[in-house]
């Protein structure tokens, strides 16, 4: 037996005009378990609130129904009222007789009748209400940023400048990411290194940033405000505490590995720093290229190291980090275009990927900034092929967004550095960005030839050995073009990192079919994810250019700050829970939850819900065939009772 008080508000004449409020209160008093029913001009006013509080005490009410305006207006107000009077705030039901009855009905009979039905439903529902408690948790003020490209660097600096502790995790031995590989950036053509390296250095020097290079995430536990992350420090075989960055070791090393930074165009030493401005400036040993690891002897680096920093016995170690929020900024890869045999990448030496071409322009690159082919000759004719693997249902349907612009940049640099004829084979030129269309015009005026048609084949020339023939239809004239060139540059699709699905699994982020991370809302929450407290920035979300990446990084930093700047957080009380006795182990809840809150306990054969992740939508409860899931405050019984009440009148 519960004890319900019903309080009918007139809202001046807003309600009283089309509903007979005193009749409604009288009707209420006839309903089961209702011990007091009153009407009053303004329930939300101080006297109205006091009336409710007094009645709770006087009539020992355990449930309160306020029949007034929409719950979206005053539910919060009345929750506070009953809480002050000693009731649990969830023992309240609001009946919306203003927005959904009096304001939309002209006839007083109709209005009163509908209000009665709604009230009856509310009483049925109120009888089944249960007290709920929300949890308050402490918030850790640190932030982890995963990925040390321009997005991660930017976000780290922003957050560190607000005084928050930042852990910047990078899987390579230096930060900088792809931007460090570029020579110039479009459309301004400013030097990439000149704008990036000061920021890299700032990260290293910042007292609030812990830089964790050569590290990978191995486990993520906890939830918003309290993440518990295990980071694997990969063995560098160099003790960075001892190393003084003299780099004597790198000179003596005989081992040869593939230079990732130079896109494999040249070799680098086994003990190496990836590039001269790397941060940190301390080397690591590439096991796969090291003579000692391969053949069991050498250790030349150890002999020349005065600091005794070389440590061949070093093992991977694990570091535990606690933070309140995470920003994932793991960046992109370029698609491997060698399976697209028609373009001849990997078969003909004259065919280059876009990143390889970037390195040819760079004065720190394999050719010291001279554009030459693999045989050292300068190309006489160059074709740049757009949309390789992008905008292609057989590969990646999305537009990679930056290729048009960097292809234009390439054309400019080719013109500047060689006397070659430059051709662009394109489908559409997409130049939507500040200064982009202007840049496009500039390149046209530099006498670059634009051929509208997707290249169908790159073949070897039979007349001139070593030269390539590019075949395409010029769709503007309908002519079949066979163009002899020396160099072909492909603009491959920009795709997520190879391990993005794995990273997504660790942080419980959903990914699209290719592995780009999904944002919570494409328009209104582009940096948040379905996992509270985890944000995304940069090209791990979708292809984008540097200005957009930086803007996202700043945004993600601000979003993270809204969490870690608080000391305490309140967690949702209207979450779902599992009654293990009824769970049949179908795992439907696990499959549907957008937040990954339910997990299947294989040992017990039942699902369990992590309430810290639950947002209370109730989806799991409706897909549960055995009603084992209880959606608090919207339980099956409560909803069914309300429906029954509504249908009675």
């Amino acid at each position: 037996m519960s004890r319900i008080g019903v309080f009918v508000c007139h809202c001046g004449l807003n309600i009283a005009k089309t509903i007979r409020v005193s009749e409604l209160a009288e009707f209420a008093s006839t309903l089961p378990d209702v011990v007091v029913a009153r009407d009053y001009r303004f329930m939300c006013s101080t006297p109205g609130q006091e009336m409710i509080a007094n009645d709770i005490k006087e009539h020992r009410l355990d449930r309160v129904i306020v029949t007034a305006c929409s719950p979206l207006m005053h539910e919060h107000t009345f929750r506070k009222v009953i809480e002050k009077a000693g009731l649990n705030q969830y023992m309240l039901t609001i009946v919306n007789i203003r927005e959904q009855v009096s304001w939309v009905t002209s006839d007083i009979e109709e209005g009163t009748a509908k209000a009665k039905a709604l009230l009856n439903g509310a009483v049925y529902r109120a009888r089944l209400l249960a007290p709920l408690s929300s949890r308050v948790i402490d918030v850790n003020s640190g932030v982890m940023i995963v990925g040390g490209g321009i997005a991660g660097i930017q976000a780290a600096l922003e957050l560190a400048n607000t005084g928050k502790k930042v852990y910047l995790v990078e899987k390579n031995s230096t930060i900088g990411g792809h931007m460090a590989q570029f020579d110039k950036t479009f459309p301004t053509l400013d030097c990439s290194a000149c704008i990036l390296t000061p920021k890299m250095d700032a990260v290293l020097q910042h007292p609030n940033i812990t830089l964790m290079t050569y590290c990978e995430i191995s486990e993520v536990k906890g939830f918003v405000g309290n993440f518990d992350i295990k980071v694997r420090q990969k063995a560098r075989y160099v003790n960075h505490d001892k190393c003084n960055a003299c780099l004597a070791c790198t000179e003596k090393c005989p081992g040869k590995g593939i230079s990732e930074w130079d896109e494999g165009l040249v070799k680098r030493k086994a003990i190496h720093i990836p590039f001269p401005q790397a941060v940190p400036q301390k080397p690591v040993i590439d096991r796969d290229a090291c003579t000692y690891f391969l053949k069991g002897k050498c250790r030349l680096c150890e002999k020349v190291c005065e600091q005794k920093a070389i440590d061949f016995e070093q093992q991977d170690t694990f570091i535990d980090v606690k933070v309140g929020a995470v920003i994932v900024a793991t960046g992109y890869n370029l698609m491997d275009t060698s399976p697209l045999v028609q373009y001849g990448y990997g078969k003909y030496p004259g065919v280059y990927s876009a990143l390889e071409a970037e390195r040819l322009f760079n004065s720190a690159g394999p050719t010291s900034g001279k554009v030459t082919l693999r045989d050292g000759k300068e190309p006489q004719a160059i074709a740049i092929l757009h949309c390789i693997g992008s905008r292609d249902k057989n590969n990646y349907e999305h537009c990679s967004r930056v290729c048009c612009m960097y292809s234009l940049k390439f054309a400019h640099l080719f013109k500047e550095k060689t006397s070659a004829d430059v051709y662009q084979f394109y489908i559409d030129i997409r130049a939507a960005g500040k200064g982009y269309e202007e840049f496009y015009n500039r390149i046209i005026e530099e006498d670059v030839k634009f051929i509208r048609g997707k290249v169908a084949r790159v073949a070897e020339s039979s007349d001139e050995p070593g030269r390539l023939i590019v075949e395409a239809e010029d769709t503007i004239t309908g002519k079949f073009v066979q163009l002899p060139v020396d160099m072909v540059v492909l603009s491959p699709a920009m795709i997520p990192r190879e391990d993005s699905k794995e990273v997504g699994r660790l942080f419980n982020l959903s990914t699209d079919k290719h592995g780009f991370f999904m944002e919570r809302h494409p328009k209104l929450a582009p940096l948040s994810t379905m996992s509270e407290g985890i944000f995304i920035a940069g090209t791990c979300q979708s292809p984008k250019d540097i200005p957009d990446t930086v803007a996202q990084a700043n945004g993600a930093a601000a979003e993270a700050l809204t969490i870690v700047s608080r000391e305490k957080m309140e967690l949702e009380a209207t979450t779902a829970m599992v009654n293990p006795a009824s769970c049949c182990g179908c795992q439907n809840c696990v499959r549907v939850c957008p937040y990954g809150a339910p997990l299947f306990n294989y040992e017990k054969g039942v699902s369990e819900i992590n309430e810290a992740l639950c947002k209370g939508c109730g989806l799991c409860a409706s897909v549960c065939p055995t009603s084992a899931i209880i959606a608090r405050h919207f339980t099956n019984e409560q909803v069914l009772a309300e429906i029954e009440g509504l249908m009675e009148f």
């Binding site: 045999v341 028609q342 949309c387 905008r391 292609d392 249902k393 057989n394 590969n395 489908i427 509208r452 048609g453 997707k454 290249v455 169908a456 084949r457 075949e471 395409a472 239809e473 010029d474 769709t475 309908g478 079949f480 066979q482």
Partner: protein, 392 residues
């Protein structure tokens, strides 16, 4: 005369309704036309065809017959446009209006009147067999589906006999269809006459049903694709080259004769390769022959070049210099091969024509892999000569 045009969307709608739904997806990037083997040598432009179709422009009839449905463009299209469906639909819409070119009329007419494209007498469909081979009966395992081309075309009846002999060699339980069947309808479907296709299909279906046909062997990849994809039934159907490859592997057929070091190159028929995904079986057959070196042409397997015989091309007049089969034969010659092997009667016909007009019959011969294998089993089917079936 005004040069202005107005899009005629009713026409575009008609094409869509005739099965050219994919029209809508095309973004005119030119991958298809760049890929199409016809673009460099004729005025046929598949991209333009689609464009004309999208807007219903006049003049489409000038180049709609160029496509040989080799499927290269479909495989490469970045938008997943089913270009062959569009071609078929456009032809359907226009040939409905009596636009069939002269050279195709006799073949379509023959199909309508006699159920085969070769103007052959339906009663003489099985004359090539000279009653040497059994008719299919319910208890038999395989129906050897004799394509019209191997029944009527004098060159290709040899292929029919070669196949029959090998089936006997392998001691399989098999039979040929009675004269109640007719053409599978592939070419006429691609030419756009969908009604006639339905008629032909139903005749065959009736035969299959009446005789409880479950397993079939075809030698024409065109029949293979049609039975698999257009007949709506689940037949266990193999191309003869697949069967041969597995019979050789199982040791049921053992190549004997040493060819003494000849070079053989293999041409992937479009309907066996790109349409059916069978690339290795015919190569395996060739590789099993003693004293034979398999050499590949530049364009092979998934990237193989069409002979030009598909999509009605076999019956169309093409000018010298506008024939893919000529180019393909030249490619074959460039490998230094003595034999151009293939596994499709259409390809055989196209290449033999080209070899004759190019005057290179002393340098290279065309053979089906079936014929090569038969030769290596030292079975002679060429005696006596002179009683090939009558061409009406």
């Amino acid at each position: 005369m005004s040069q202005a045009v107005t899009p005629y969307l009713e026409m575009s709608q008609a094409i869509i309704e005739a099965g050219g739904e994919a029209l809508k997806k095309c973004y005119q990037c030119g991958t298809c036309s760049g890929t199409c083997p016809w673009t460099p040598i004729t005025n046929f432009n598949i991209r333009k065809l689609v464009r004309y179709g999208q807007l219903g422009f006049d003049g489409i009839e000038d180049f709609m017959w160029g496509c040989s449905t080799c499927k290269f463009c479909v495989d490469r299209c970045p938008r997943g446009v089913e270009l062959i469906d569009i071609v078929t639909a456009i032809r359907n819409v226009y040939s409905g209006g009596g636009m069939l070119p002269q050279s195709l009329r006799s073949f379509v007419g023959s199909l309508a009147a006699r159920g085969n494209p070769w103007s052959g007498d339906p009663a003489k469909r099985n004359d090539w067999a000279k009653e040497k081979y059994p008719l299919y009966k319910k208890e038999m395992e395989y129906l050897f589906w004799t394509c019209c081309t191997i029944c009527y075309d004098p060159r290709n009846t040899r292929l029919a006999r070669a196949t029959a002999e090998l089936l006997n060699q392998a001691a399989l339980s098999w039979g040929i269809p009675s004269i109640d069947v007719n053409c599978c309808g592939e070419s006429v479907r691609k030419v756009g006459d969908l009604e006639l296709f339905e008629r032909l299909k139903n005749t065959n279906l009736n035969y299959f049903q009446a005789n409880s046909v479950a397993k079939m062997i075809t030698v024409s990849p065109h029949c293979l694709v049609t039975f698999k994809k257009e007949y709506g039934e689940d037949y266990n159907i193999v191309h003869f080259s697949e069967l041969l490859a597995s019979l050789i592997k199982e040791g049921k057929l053992k190549p004997k004769k040493d060819f003494g070091g000849i070079k053989v190159t293999y041409h992937d028929p479009c309907y066996l390769g790109r349409h059916s995904g069978i690339y290795d079986a015919p190569r395996d057959v060739i590789k099993s022959l003693p004293g034979v070196e398999l050499v590949e042409m530049k364009r092979n397997r998934e990237q193989s070049m069409c002979c030009g015989g598909g999509g009605g091309g076999l019956w169309m007049e093409k000018l010298k210099g506008e024939r893919l089969s000529d180019l393909r034969v030249e490619e074959a010659l460039a490998t230094g091969a003595n034999v151009l092997a293939t596994a499709c009667p259409y390809c055989i016909t196209m290449f033999e024509d080209s070899i004759r007009t190019l005057n290179v019959d002393d340098k290279i011969v065309v053979k089906d892999v079936t014929e090569l294998l038969l030769e290596s089993l030292e079975i002679n089917i060429d005696e006596p000569v002179g009683d090939m079936c009558e061409i009406v």
